[in-house]
Symmetry: C2
């Protein structure tokens, strides 16, 4: 089990079934059975997925009798958004940046070639 906060969040989101569940929960809370209904896998498998989501704090659970309600915790997704947004400047205004970088690589190579003082 991953302990790091962001790591467990990303891990939880790396499965399409779990992302689908997250998406379903944007339409309001649901019981385990309701969440399992659209899928062809077993209820137990869904319970496992929910455990991962809860572990990453992507959902909150509230038991009531036999039923176990799940609700989205958007705060966890917000953290993902904020992490990704930290890289915004790298995709903005330079869609061709990759080419630029490759050029930079070649420049570096040439620098290395002309540099004869390899005295480290």
């Amino acid at each position: 089990m991953v302990v790091d906060n962001l790591s467990s969040t990303f891990a939880a989101l790396s499965d399409p079934t779990r992302r689908s569940i997250v998406d379903r929960l944007t339409r309001g809370p649901a019981t385990v059975n309701e969440l399992a209904a659209p899928f062809s896998i077993s209820q137990q498998a869904i319970s496992k997925h929910l455990a991962y989501l809860a572990n990453a704090h992507l959902i909150e659970r509230q038991r009531d009798g036999r039923q176990n309600f799940c609700a989205l915790n958007p705060g966890a997704i917000r953290e993902v958004a904020e992490w990704a947004d930290g890289y915004r400047r790298f995709w903005e205004k330079s869609f061709q940046r990759l080419d630029v970088l490759l050029e930079e690589m070649k420049t570096r190579k040439q620098r290395k070639r002309t540099k004869k003082e390899r005295h480290r």
Copy 2:
């Protein structure tokens, strides 16, 4: 190996070593050795991490002689940002939404209790 695009991206980002490498690459491209230097794990382990990152299109590689340069592909992170941003309205303007949802759950339970026509 995961095939789904977003799934492999999230999986690649679920490891702190790989996120650290991604972060390093914001300061420009680097060789495998340079990327491996800050870590205490083996060069081979880093090569594996780089393979996952490349597989998820988070980095691009450019071989030159013995060296293998890696450069960040911000487009992949942008996709993550866009995915997360789709949930923006769920965390904006209602930090107490979770409480609201739990209330909603209880309401639903009561509705169920008063509903006597269980004729499905």
